[in-house]
């Protein structure tokens, strides 16, 4: 009788430990972390793969072109969105800037969105009287950009009863600020077709 009781307790203990969740995840099985580098074809609107391909292609073409000799200072301007859809073009410029920074071929001046914060910080340090004078960064020492980098993205969308075709064209150019000459330019074309 005692052995039967012991056996049943052991069986219950085994079942309980067997059912314990020892996976390092919690929550619904319907939610998964995916591969951020996978080819995304959920819809044919502008997507993560397009962003990655554009940034990668443009950065490498520019870095390898040889125009960025001596790590010049570059100012990045927002990419003009000429498509009919909403695209966060700031993410394209951020990716290009990040990847160029990693190549070590260029330095970047404060762009138009960061300029106000930069000016505010300099004013605060120099005019508020809050900071120890020896630690204050002086005004008039900001480095001006030698080049400006600007681009645009446009699209051609065609629809029929069977197909939807989207053709994206991304253009980027590097312009010498002093001369106004375009010193480098490249394009990336992407076609996405949906068959209904």
């Amino acid at each position: 009788m005692l052995s039967i009781r012991l056996c049943s307790i052991a069986a219950v203990a085994l079942l309980a430990t067997g059912c314990a969740n020892n996976s390092p995840s919690l929550g619904s099985k319907n939610i998964n972390y995916g591969d951020t580098k996978a080819v995304e074809t959920v819809t044919n609107e502008f997507g993560s793969t397009d962003l990655q391909m554009i940034a990668e292609s443009m950065t490498r073409s520019l870095a390898q072109s040889g125009i960025l000799q001596g790590r010049p200072v570059v100012q990045v301007y927002d990419v003009k969105n000429k498509t009919s859809e909403y695209i966060d073009t700031r993410e394209i410029t951020t990716s290009i800037k990040t990847q160029l920074m990693k190549t070590g071929t260029a330095r970047f001046a404060s762009d138009n969105t960061q300029m106000q914060s930069q000016v505010d910080q300099l004013k605060l340090q120099n005019q508020s009287g809050l900071y120890k004078q020896s630690t204050v960064n002086k005004t008039g020492n900001m480095i001006a950009a030698k080049y400006r980098l600007e681009g645009s993205i446009s699209s051609i969308v065609k629809r029929s009863s069977d197909y939807k075709d989207v053709f994206y064209k991304f253009s980027l150019q590097l312009i010498d600020v002093e001369s106004g000459l375009a010193e480098w330019m490249d394009e990336k074309e992407i076609r996405k077709t949906t068959e209904r």
Partner: protein
């Protein structure tokens, strides 16, 4: 006599089961990582150069079928120690028309890259 015949047969079977020798280090084949059966797509000659400090690669791809084939690919850029020197690239999709020979150009993301692997996969 029977034992000898069995012996010869066993040797022949063993030879048939043996895995092909690994590609020679530094050869074009050693740079390709096929993730599964490549279904009528052959990776051919490769041209590797260093231009303005960056490793550049051009890879020949052949579609041995008469039908259009789709494939996915990405490059992994390695340093002198054989380890990656940059973040993993995004996968890209490529369509090869029936019997087409195409070339895949690529530029390393950082000057530190001295070697590469081409990862390929068919759907």
């Amino acid at each position: 006599m029977r034992i000898k015949i069995f012996g010869v047969l066993a040797l022949a079977l063993l030879a048939g089961c043996a895995t092909p020798p690994p590609p020679a280090p530094g050869s074009a084949a050693s740079k390709v990582v096929a993730m599964g059966d490549m279904k009528n797509i052959e990776v051919g000659a490769m041209r590797v150069a260093r231009e303005n400090g960056f490793l550049t690669v051009n890879v020949q791809l052949n579609n041995t079928s008469s039908r259009n084939k789709q494939m996915y690919y990405r490059f992994a850029w390695l340093g002198n120690d054989g380890f990656p020197v940059a973040d993993a690239e995004g996968w890209k999709s490529l369509t090869l028309y029936g019997s087409q020979t195409s070339f895949l150009p690529a530029i390393a993301p950082v000057p530190k890259a001295t070697d590469f692997r081409l990862e390929v996969k068919t759907p």
